[in-house]
Each structure stands twice: as structure tokens, then as C-alpha cells.
């Protein structure tokens, strides 16, 4: 999974050293990627973010699902 190669700098810019591709992230995207790297499931990630942001699990889950789709489109996860 290419995502494991992703290096994120202090400005939330992600970079894959083997392919030279870069990605601009926001803090939530960065947090989700870090949680994926810790092998958290989609449910677990949505729960953690929902608690942090004080939002409903359902709303956050939809956004997390959408973000996973984007990662797939970019080829960062299978």
C-alpha cells in the first residue's frame, strides 16, 4: 500500500519518495492517514474523529468513506 510510504511534512504536504508525487492535505486528512497507518478500520477512524469534533458518527462516517474513495482514486490504497 503506497500510503505507508507517504511522508507528511509540517505544512501538511504529503510526498511519495519512490514516485515523486505530492499531495496537499488538511489536518483532518493528515489525522485520518495517520490512523490508517496505525491499521485502524473505517469504523474506528470515524468514531475517533466524531468524538474529537463533536459530530455524529453517521455524518463523519460518510466523509471518511468519501476520503477513502479519494485515496483509492489516487492509488494510495487498494
Amino acid at each position: 500500500m503506497l500510503l505507508h510510504e507517504l511522508i507528511i511534512d509540517e505544512n501538511n504536504m504529503g510526498f511519495i519518495p519512490s514516485l515523486g508525487t505530492s499531495y496537499q492535505l488538511n489536518t483532518t486528512a493528515r489525522e485520518i492517514i495517520n490512523l490508517i497507518k496505525q491499521n485502524k478500520s473505517k469504523d474506528e477512524i470515524a468514531k475517533i474523529i466524531a468524538e474529537e469534533k463533536g459530530a455524529t458518527f453517521r455524518d463523519v462516517y460518510i466523509d471518511v468513506e468519501d476520503f477513502f474513495q479519494k485515496l483509492k482514486i489516487y492509488g494510495l490504497i487498494q
Binding site: 510526498f15 519518495p17 519512490s18 514516485l19 515523486g20 508525487t21 505530492s22 492509488g75
Partner: protein
Amino acid sequence: MKIALSGLNNTDNPAPGIGVAKSLKGFDLIGLSYDVNEPGIYQGLFEKVYLMPYPTLGYEEFKNRILEIKKDNIDAIIPNLDAELPLYIKYQDEIEKLGIKTYLPSLKCFEMRDKSKLAKFSEKLGVKHPKTLEITSIDDLIKATKELGFPIMVKGNYYKAYKANNLDEAIECYYKISNEWGFPLLAQEVISGIEINYVGLGDGEKLVGGVGMKKLTTTELGKVWSAVSIKNEALFQASKKFVETIGWRGAFEFEAMSDGKDIYLIEINPRFPAWVYFATSLGVNLPQMMVDLMNSKEVKPALDYPDEKMYVRYVEETTVDFKDFMQLLSKKEIQGEKNV
């Protein structure tokens, strides 16, 4: 040591000669050009520039011209253009007998990496290759589009490659390339992924130096305008295997696509690419290493370099005497004003 080199174009379709010349600043350099409009002639890199006969005129024409130029005591030539390489490679022994060194692959090696033979060759290297069909007629093209579907790449055997999304576009590309560069053409399956490239130098047995990069922006012709250095193990191993498997001697550029898992070999150019100076600026001076190998000097492998470095081309301007241009047209040679 006096070194002559070709490929002096420096427009949005840059040739490798300028990058090679900038890498060999410490040497006396002679420019070999096919067109008085090539900007590199006027950049102050060469002590003299000669116009050359087109390679299609054959070896005798070439030899006569080289013998005229030899009066400048040229010790070596680095050819940098695809269209002239078959001639240089075929006659490298004869050129050597004229007292001019080259550092080129054998004709057999050169032909093994021909675009039309890459399918078999990529198997040897353990990499994938997009399905490719040779085409010499519109009928062939139509058959190829039925087999490969759309989009499809239509490529010249030496130069130019266009993506076509339907048959009309494919036919347009077919004529555009064949009118300029002749036949055969190639129809190739489109691979989705990220294009990554490796410039390297083989000594006939092993890879002695190289740098990997990914293009960030390109010109309309697909030539790199900015890039970032990368370290891709699969790309490095494939390039290494290429040199070791066939005993490649000389410069090369390994062009590949990566889907993040597999490497697809797109083509292997038998020369330095136009971005060779990127490698030099990262501490891997491949033209210098080539000259050392020509002189049978021991060359320390240079396979390590910093990644995440950015290569940026930019436009520069200069002013020269118009009489230089006129003289090159009429006398086919000019004294350069080497300023670097």
C-alpha cells in the same frame, strides 16, 4: 582533451547536447549541429561549431565531414540524437580508426531495445510492457485500435508519441508522425500510472551511475520542464538488470510507468536524455564518467544521490553577431565564443 558533441537544440524540444556540454565544462568542446537555428550554438559553450550532413546521407558523407573537422584535433565524439545513433553505432570501429573515441553500445545491444522488440525484451528484465503493435498502413492502425481499444498511443519509432481517443484522432496522429518521421509506427496500449525515468551509464558489464526522476511539468511535446528526484527501487533494479543482462555500454534513459506496484517499461533511449544535467547537479556527472571510461580510467560507481530535489528549466536570452549565423550558413562552421 577535445570533445565534439551533437544535440544543440535548446527550445521547448530540447536535445541532450546542452546538458552534456554543461557537464563537461572543463573540456574543450566542439558543437556538431544540423541546423543553424539551434539555440545551443550561441550559448557560449563551444569553442567551435560545425554543421553536419544529415545522417540519412550515409557514412561516406559523415566520414568526409568528420575528416574535415578532425583538423581541430577532436579526441572524442558524444552523439546525442536518436536519428544519428544508428550510424555512429554501426560505424563505431571505423570512427575509432580515424582516431576519435566514442562510448557506445554494440549494434546488437542497440537493436535489442528497439521499441518494436520491447515486449520480448521486457520479459528478460522481469518488468511488464504495454501491448504494442507495429503499424505500416491505415489498415494496420484500424486493426490495432480494434485490438487495443481507446485511448491508444500512436508512436514513431524514433520520435513523437500522441494519445488518441478515437479513430479520427488516431488517423491524424498516424499522418502527423509518418509524414515527418516515416515508418514503422507503433500503436500501444495506454497504461495508467505515473511516469518515472532513470538516466544511467553502463560500462558493458554493470551500471556505474544513475539518477531517477519524475516529471512534474512538461512542454506541449511532453518534454520535461520541471522534475523531482526520486528513489524507486523497482526502477533502479530494472535499469541495473538492463545493463547487466545485455552488457550495455554507454548512456541510456529507462522510461517506465508505475502503478505503485508494478513497473511497465515504455522505452529505453540509447543516449543521455535532455535532463542529464539534473543528474550532474545532484553529484552524478554521467558525461564526465563516460569520458573517464573512454580514457580507460577507473570510475567509482555513483548510484547514490539526494531525492526530493527539484529540477527546473527556464528561458534565457543572449545576443550574438548576426554574422555568426550567416557564416555558419555559408561556411558551415563558426568560431564560438566560449564563455563558461
